[in-house]
Symmetry: D2
Subunit: 415 residues, 4 copies
């Protein structure tokens, strides 16, 4: 007997073993019509096989959606996030988090198109992704039904899943019968690795992770002995060209990834705080994003006013947490984005970065809108800066502290 109440579900479907099992389980459990949605976010896998597999699993051709979202991903999610110089917990570039609101948005759009009443994702019950997907679903389609198989089904471990797959004739790729020693999530911005092989935070990330075949970046030790200088061009806070060559947003990020990977940039071993409450250790590879972060900081150094820069820095941790926790589609994220975007109008110009052995060093920045240019230094002579002004500036800034010290002296207070 099937669970009731779901007529048509849009499943985020990769074509892999896990989501294939989910597809079958949805049919078994809900007896509903199934629509698959497979997105290209630059994870580096071919999508064509996903169509074949879905067809083979019995999904109707009209119910198979395969979308290339790479440009939208970088243009509307990655770049806006980098405008804020976003780092979660001081170090993490949020590569997984930032992809979730787009996947959820597209999934809901498809649900609306095909008249589906439910959506389903393959995230586990202990991680952040379930939150990011589901909060986004609800924010975009408040009456949607959400199916989270990993929290619902009765399978108790890998063997149960494999048995179920075999029973239903689902193809099991070689080596997939055993649980992987670590799990991977990838998109154009980054690759994250988590799990068994990484579970002791006192043991260095093992080679099977950091030197695996499909890694995103090499280790600094493997990188060339020769530094390479790259020039990034920005407009309105966004990257628009590399070494003078304009490209689409996703092409720019791909090119940065190529450069970063070549020089061993962007590997990060981190223990972070999950929104669901526990600490988690991951190994993140964000070669292009790391370069972009330094580049954006560098162009802001000469084009952004101090007041705007400091306000941005103060708002950033909050903004980062919202993205990490899955609250992209919220009024408060929109408010912060409005503030951030309002600061970026003149964040334009060129930045020169030196890439070497895992490091990114700013070595030059120029801009038609520079607040540092010699013409502006010359401004001084026209009265912009008069050394004598410093005295008054200091005196009035210190006045409250002098009054305070006078008071405390009278009081006999020593602190």
């Amino acid at each position: 007997m099937t669970k009731s109440g779901v007529k048509k579900v849009v499943l985020a479907y990769s074509g892999g073993l896990d989501t294939s099992i989910i597809l079958k389980w949805l049919e078994d459990t809900y007896g509903c019509e199934i629509v698959t949605f497979t997105a290209d976010l630059g994870q580096g896998e071919e999508l064509a096989p996903a169509r074949e597999k879905a067809l083979k699993m019995g999904v109707k051709p009209d119910n198979i959606f395969i979308d290339d979202l790479r440009e939208e991903f970088v243009r509307d999610f990655v770049f806006p996030m980098f405008r804020a110089n976003t780092l979660y917990e001081g170090q993490y570039l949020l590569g997984t988090s930032i992809a979730r609101p787009l996947i959820a948005k597209r999934q809901i759009e498809i649900a609306n198109m095909v008249g589906a009443d439910a959506v389903c994702h393959g995230a586990t019950g202990k991680g952040n992704d379930q939150v990011r997907f589901e909060v986004s679903y609800y924010a975009l389609k408040p009456d949607v039904k959400v199916i989270a198989p990993w929290r619902e089904w009765e399978f108790e471990g890998r063997p149960d899943l494999i048995a179920y797959a075999k029973k239903h004739g689902i193809q099991i790729a070689q080596g997939k019968e055993q649980a992987a020693p670590f799990s991977i999530d990838a998109n154009l911005l980054h690759t994250s690795s988590e799990g068994l092989a990484l579970e002791d935070p006192d043991v260095e990330v093992p080679d099977i992770v950091s030197k695996r075949g499909d890694r995103r970046t090499i280790t600094p030790e493997e990188a060339p002995d020769q530094a390479e200088t790259v020039t990034l061009s920005f407009e309105r806070g966004d990257l628009v060209a590399i070494n003078g060559k304009p490209m689409k947003a996703h092409e720019l990020l791909a090119e940065l990834n190529r450069l970063g990977s070549k020089h061993g940039i962007g590997g990060l071993d981190l223990v972070e705080n999950r929104y669901v409450g526990m600490k988690s250790r991951g190994y993140y590879e964000t070669p292009g994003g790391t370069i972009l972060w330094y580049g954006h900081r560098a162009i802001e150094q000469i084009t952004l006013d101090r007041g705007a820069a400091h306000l941005k820095d103060e708002l950033m941790p909050r903004y980062a947490s919202l993205i990490y926790n899955g609250f992209w589609w919220t009024p408060e994220r929109v408010m912060l984005q409005a503030a951030i975007d309002a600061s970026q109008g003149s964040v334009a110009g060129d930045v020169k970065l030196k890439l070497y052995k895992g490091g990114v060093r700013t070595i030059g920045r120029s801009s038609p809108y520079s607040l540092y240019s010699k013409a502006l230094v010359g401004f001084d002579e026209a009265g912009g800066y008069n050394q004598a002004d410093a005295e008054g500036f200091i005196k009035l800034n210190a006045l409250r502290l002098r009054i305070l010290a006078e008071r405390d002296k009278k009081r006999g207070k020593n602190e």
Copy 2:
């Protein structure tokens, strides 16, 4: 005729040409008794000559103060600042800024001891240091008279100064007749270079700066081809041992400097926003501080609660600006310090860092107070984490967003 109103002044005196000229100028201009104060903050210069020079300039032996402040500097200023993972404008470790409040404090203590009514510093009229010194002076001794020669005297350039020095028989070391192509500030935490040779932010820091004889760190390209792993031990948020060897605070920082310098760590080319209003380009070398920053972040990763960690990250930019601007001796800095320190009680344990070609990578962390340990993961079984809880967690976190979406749907709002 001398300016009136100053009887005895405490001068921050390095023994160099500039402060020697100031010493003479003070006598000439104010006709007051002069007390010199020379501090060892680990800038790497011998202090003994300063005494000789002061004597030669006619300062009374009892009026010469030479203090080794290195331990106090690291213990009471550098370490508290690193508890907050402090970075100004996202990248700068505040090496110059953090030394100023201590120098000012000691200068005022001496003024109180010797009954001086004035203090004098040698910072120029366009920089931040004048603010940092003077705001600190006023906060600690509200009725003090402050003499800032660079803002007061009539000398209009280097030739005037040199002429004055010659006229008064002040010894001029070789090469000091011309203005230096860049100026340097140094202490145990860092060395900063600023000025002419660095004034075009689009031109890479030249070798005369980055490869000068007394540099604090080498370039990544010069560093050894072999990575080195170092273990840092923390207690209550402060570094207490390196590779298992406990040392005093200032010895620890010196050892980190040695390690960082060897591996080309801690060079930073930055354009920053000065408190007095303009942008400024500097080259900063903070080898030990850079390692310490990564180490402290790493130990916090496993020992600090998420709520505390995120609050710290949100408060940090404000705290950094206060230090950069010279407001160490203020109630608001004290308040922020109280909050930060209240979070550090269990920030203890060992961190393993890999140093290589300018980079610092965390490769392990352990702690008796870990919030990540296996014992705590085992906690799950006792009911700590139940996958089913995630559904309620998500549903209630999403509730307001569902209500909002329902409202906006009715309204026909598309955004």
Copy 3:
């Protein structure tokens, strides 16, 4: 058959109908030993009957705990909160929220004393109180079992509860068979009313609520035509005397309640955002707290430095949300409290307030530690304030904006 796994439970027991039903239901459902805990937080009910009722319900004398927590409540919870001038969503004095962490703390202390493995509260499943209690329980005793009857039992409405009570011989006071048109929570700081009679936020709070017999404050219209002036004395940020008369903390608050109630002060009709996601309308009566808020603001006006004052104002909304949401026993609340408390050392002196027809007006403030006193104004003459300083102060504060305007002019930017 009873649920397993609970041996001894500490129940927050008021002696009323609802918690009596819970007591019985616990026995029936869990078959465990029951300990009752009844606290006097100044809610205005006699506690003696609670003992009688518990005995009658079969609780062992040693298992009945009745504690007068009024002093601890005001001294360690209410006063610390008022040091921050705390208001939730700009207007609410958090009267209910601030009592919860104390009740939870005492309940856990008792659980530890008697060796109980579980605690139970009577808060419903739609409100904030369940969160506040349970988060506190878990934070103080991580392995405790929490029983929340309203979320667990199968009763579907008032009639089910009444039937159950009758079946078990629980005494039902007159008028209690029907659901009340609104529910009340009370303690020494405030009374809140919520529910049916208040559910339309466009309809004025009805007289059955605002003019009920046991109301905490009268309406402004009912208040005397004559204003009354009261003097509050503070030390270290806390109220210590009223009209020159020192009293214990809880006596002070009681006296402020008497004064506020007499003058119709402290009624608030509010729609607020609950932590569990929906909006809720309540009518809050906080007569003494309202007076205290104005008094504390007034004494800070003359004794608190601007830097401290502004930082406090910026931290306050976060602090208020933490308390509202039930996160008193968290590292981040402790951090904020440390910051707030660090600012209060000189917040001392006398404030005169005029009470009239619902309003509180500050009409005077004085302090031995005033930062405003004439002696300090006289300080000006000694050089504290020189009008000429203003020019430099303005010029350097404006410098970055001039550079920016110059840039934008060149750019032809009109905004």
Copy 4:
């Protein structure tokens, strides 16, 4: 001999004695052409006489500018500020501060029109207004020359000024020879009183201030014994109608002033922290603004999402300080405004307020965009709120605290 370097100056000219003296002094001192600018911001004085006086002082007709800025003032400055529920230091509605950027903007526009190279204001050298004017001037016209007569001239007190006026045939209105016991600033939003009669913060505001002829509001004691209910209608966060009657922005504020004044609303006795460093005591009358503040809060209660509401509350103190300090025309104020405005799209509906004896009480609010409406409460049944969800919500919110408590227990830590 006149000071050199100024050719044409735009003077903010009220037509009163002080600015007439300034007009003459400018001629004498700078020998430059003078343009007068008189603005109507609703201060309640006739402007026609200003033209007559300027002509009589010898100003050319083409050089006299008299502008009615009331609508622009309320629409583009007051209303945007109230969208943020702005209060400086918890209580002050910023009536003086918010007028300054508009006056400065118009003055600079006129300077650009007439080709003036300088501007002049009549604010004193100890207050905030000089900062607000001059920072705005510089931000809008970076090369402008600023003349601040009160900081420049040699007059040492009132008698000097009067003598100068007499010498130059400037008409002295009766009673103006002596310094006023307090000074007043007025516009459509408020009236502020400061000075001698108010200088002891422990003495109640005297009747000559609070009961003067041209006061903006009466005292609560004088107000009618009958409460009055008023309905305010909002669109996109701004007031659009009173009691159902749409009016222009400045007419709305005038009508609120009439209502507030009638009921004794909006008087505030405050000691605040000036930007120039000292504390200052003022008496502020903001009758309409006070009503508007409560009205805006009330409509946000039902139409604004929690996330947006809390973020706004956290940003507000910073935004208030920017306005108070005179930094309206800055990137950071623009950023905050962008965030605030992005939250106001659905802040629309009606609010009922009861005005009585100085108090404003919200008694009802309704909105087509309510997030509270019964239709949305009904939403629950469709799965919006399930009591069982609360358990998971609480458990995961508490998880980090349980882990922490477990750790601290092991550690033997008692705090």
